[in-house]
């Protein structure tokens, strides 16, 4: 490691991790990971989705304890931290999803549960003292809003400042910012980076986790790169640059996968075409995208890049703020998911339990639900027709369950996902959109779902697969479209497939 260019190097670290290992059933989340954080140092922590960043955060927050390894905080060695221990030693988190009470004001949020109280039996909140306590904190984060402002009325960056002020209020010595800028517009991002610099000037350490590498470049003193749960490398201040980070994030080139060597398929006609579609999340970013018949189009991008939002528009859940959708060359107007389903556009949503299936219904009832009138005579549901359809799908997809009358909630994740697929396969898909189809699914079921997607494409269906799993995107897709901050930043053909290219596009750079 190269500290020669910083004066920080001389001081003892506030936090150091040594040889930390954490496994979950079937997965090694962190493997022999070591790092240290010195007082007043800003560490950029980067890595792909699934590289182990979240596990590391959980360990530092005391939510989980490592299997082996030591964590030394302020000179004291621990096997693992507890939530109280983590807070008590001055480690504070600012999460991607903010934990603020939007209906309360800034001061109430910062000192929630620790309000200064007046003397007397009623223990009323001492508002004036509270304000006195909040004022210097807000000043330190450079807040341009008052302590009485309702949190709901603040912008996202301002809300993040409240979170940081909250961290300062517990006398934090290390502030961990998890993707703080992923949902911020550019101008607001600058403000936040200034706050980080101010923290540093006060001798507070910062771990800055971000997918936006140019921001990491701007604020980090040192960059720690995680890959597959291991330390891929550390970059000193002078070596921090975009290409170096990307190189470390990917590591050596992936070994060629069998699928990748296959000759590119002849592309079919365009099935679903988006022309300047604007989603409610990124209203100023028009998206153009063609999904062709017989192909699997991978839709890659970082979390929050607007992929799910696009899928919701394609499936009629959200309206588009502009632009047109076309199916087989004809303009499509979708007022609801029912309209999309009627056109043969189906979605396997990201959140299986919330939107994919009804856990309390049986397999058969879930599979027949989108096409119930076809399973009814004189609008009375025919249980035998339902069972027949479900049995067929159960066999075709290899759903492991005692019977099709089994409650879906009792099935494993993989089998639940097959039920979601089964309900659409029982109809005639023209366009099949799959949002993170293999998330939380074991390897065996994953392979089966890949096989199914390929079979669908071979049958002439246009398949759009949203995935954050790099190997999956490269291994399964025929083409890859990459999104960056709400827009398609590029489309890769088979011969351009590489993790590096996908990642470059995902962070808004040009591929090589």
């Amino acid at each position: 490691m190269n500290y020669s260019d910083t004066s920080i190097a001389a001081t003892t670290p506030f936090l150091s991790l040594e040889n930390v290992r954490k496994t979950y059933p079937g997965v090694v989340a962190l493997d022999g990971f070591s790092m240290e954080v010195r007082p007043g140092e800003v560490i950029g922590l980067v890595g792909e989705n699934g590289a182990g960043k979240s596990t590391l955060m959980k360990i530092l927050g005391g939510v989980t304890t490592p299997d082996t390894g030591t964590i030394t905080v302020d000179g004291t060695a621990h096997k693992g931290l507890s939530v109280e221990g983590s807070l008590g030693s001055g480690i504070a988190f600012v999460h991607q999803e903010l934990n603020l009470f939007e209906n309360l004001d800034v001061a109430a949020n910062i000192f929630f549960g620790r309000e200064p109280l007046r003397a007397g039996p009623l223990k009323l909140v001492d508002r004036s003292k509270l304000r006195e306590m909040v004022a210097p904190l807000l000043k330190r984060v450079g807040a341009n809003f008052s302590a009485d402002a309702q949190v709901a009325s603040l912008s996202l960056a301002q809300q993040q400042m409240v979170e940081i002020a909250k961290a300062l209020s517990i006398k934090a010595r290390l502030v961990i910012l998890d993707e703080p800028t992923s949902s911020l517009p550019l101008a607001e991002t600058d403000k936040l980076l200034d706050v980080i610099k101010a923290l540093k000037a006060d001798g507070i350490s910062v771990i800055f986790i971000s997918h936006r590498l140019h921001e990491v470049e701007r604020v980090a003193d040192r960059v720690v790169v995680l890959r597959d749960g291991m330390l891929a490398g550390t970059l000193g201040k002078r070596d921090i640059n975009h290409d170096q980070m990307v190189k470390l994030m990917i590591g050596r080139m992936l070994k060629e996968r069998e699928k990748a060597s296959e000759a590119a398929r002849a592309p079919g006609a365009t099935a679903l075409a988006a022309k300047a579609i604007r989603t409610p999340t990124y209203p100023s970013r028009p998206v153009d995208l063609d999904v062709r018949r017989g192909e699997i189009l991978g839709l890659a991008g970082l979390v929050g890049s607007g992929r799910t939002e696009l899928a919701r528009v394609f499936f009629g859940i959200d309206g588009s703020l502009g632009g047109t959708l076309e199916l087989d060359g004809k303009t499509l107007v979708l007022g609801s998911a029912a309209d999309a389903v009627a056109q043969g556009i189906f979605l396997v949503p990201e959140d299986r339990k919330l939107t994919g299936i009804l856990l309390d219904l049986s397999i058969a009832q879930n599979i027949s639900l989108p096409n119930l009138p076809a399973h009814a005579r004189r609008s009375l549901v025919s249980a035998s027709a339902e069972t027949a359809t479900a049995e067929k799908q159960k066999k075709a997809l290899g759903i492991k369950a005692p019977s099709v009358q089994t409650r879906t909630g009792t099935l494993s994740g993989g089998n639940q996902q097959k039920v979601v697929l089964g309900k659409w396969l029982a109809m005639n898909p023209k366009v099949m959109i799959l949002d993170e189809p293999t998330r939380g699914i074991d390897i065996g079921a994953k392979a089966e779902i890949y096989g199914l997607m390929r079979a669908l494409a071979d049958a002439g269906v246009a398949v759009l697969m949203i995935s954050s799993d790099m190997e999956e995107v490269i291994g399964v897709s025929d083409r890859i479209a990459v999104m960056h901050e709400g827009q398609i930043s590029g489309i890769l053909d088979k011969d351009q497939f590489s993790q590096e290219n996908v990642l470059l596009l995902a962070v808004g750079k040009q591929p090589k």
Binding site: F315, I317, S336, A337, A338, A340, V341, A342, L347, P349, L354, T355, G356, I357, L358, L359, D360, L361, Q365, N366, L369, P370, L372, P373, A376, S379, L380, V381, K423
Partner: protein
């Protein structure tokens, strides 16, 4: 019939037996006829409520609707001298419109069902009182509508026709709720509206239809109540009826979160409530305690049901754990 319904039926029979032993007048034909008439009136109302509750909604305005539409019905036939079949159709149509408006406000304008129907409760009561200038709507001396009176307040083979109407409606609505495509949609929406939407169900229309059904059945029961009391003072007529209906549904195993409950359950819930009312009268309990008895029984019923659910879940877990231990390889 589910186990829950069976349990409720047994409770009804046990309570009935106890009351009959203490006061044999419980089994007199006249008492049974009166009670079954009330079961008919409240049952029709409760079925409507059940359709709304199954979607996870609530309809608080039914008592006021009973007052308003009852007043209008008597006014139509007694004062304005419309043909009763025409008045009947008009009242049913008004009920449907009220349901449609509630459904529209809830699904399109995304207002909470509690708020919409609470406002309805206040508005319809006020309109009804204004319409009669806070007077009483009733029939003039000697006014007769033999067919209408037979259909609503009459008896066939000693059984009140209102009770027979309830049986017919219950059978039809049982088929709708438990066998039809629409009924399946209702359950799906009640269980998880988002997932139902993602399965391509037009959830807004289905929920709206549930409120329309509730409106129509409420209008029908309003006519029955009007013909039963024959005179309506809109300030008090139908008061708390929404709570009777909700109580019947809850006793019958409906979850106010939606997606749970059966038609037989809501009928049995109505029967139990009326049985309790009758019990209060027959056992000489001060009638001022009426509501307290009802509230107590509902609370105990829900508590027992919930504790039973916890007990069963725990037993299932223990069973599963035992199986795991038995199935583990010997070391």
């Amino acid at each position: 019939m589910s186990k829950k319904d069976l349990g409720l039926l047994i409770l009804i029979l046990v309570v009935g037996a106890i009351v009959a032993i203490i006061n044999p007048r419980f089994l007199l034909p006249i008492n049974l006829a009166n009670t079954s008439n009330l079961i008919g009136l409240f049952g029709i109302l409760s079925i409507g409520q059940a359709f709304v509750i199954i979607t996870g909604g609530i309809e608080l305005s039914v008592g006021s609707v009973v007052a308003l539409l009852g007043t209008l019905f008597i006014d139509f036939i007694a004062v304005r001298e419309l043909d009763w079949p025409l008045a009947f159709v008009l009242i049913i149509a008004l009920g449907a419109i009220i349901g449609l408006v509630h459904g529209w406000l809830i699904t399109r304008l995304k207002l909470q069902p509690f708020v919409v129907t609470l406002c309805g409760l206040l508005i319809y009561r006020g309109v009804a009182r204004f319409y009669t200038a806070d007077g009483t709507a009733g029939f003039a001396f000697g006014q007769n509508f033999p067919e209408l009176e037979f259909l609503t307040a009459g008896r066939s083979w000693g059984v009140p026709n209102s009770f027979i109407a309830l049986i017919v409606i219950a059978i039809v609505m049982w088929v709708v709720l438990h066998r039809s495509v629409f009924g399946r949609y209702l359950y799906a929406i009640g269980k998880n509206e988002e997932a139902a939407k993602y399965s391509g169900i037009r959830t807004g229309r289905i929920v709206m239809a549930a409120y329309v059904i509730c409106g129509v059945l409420t209008a029908l029961s309003a006519i029955y109540f009007a013909m039963y009391t024959r005179s309506i003072s809109p300030a008090s007529h139908g008061q708390f009826y929404e709570l009777y209906a909700i109580a019947a549904a809850v006793l019958g195993g409906f979850s106010l979160r939606g997606g749970e409950g059966s038609l037989i359950g809501v009928i049995l819930g109505t029967v139990l409530l009326q049985e309790l009312q009758n019990l209060v009268n027959l056992l000489g309990i001060p009638s001022s305690l009426n509501f307290a008895v009802m509230g107590g029984v509902i609370l105990i019923g829900v508590l027992v049901d919930q504790q039973w659910g916890v007990f069963r879940a725990r037993r299932l877990m223990v069973d599963a754990a035992r199986k795991n231990v038995a199935g583990a390889p010997a070391e």
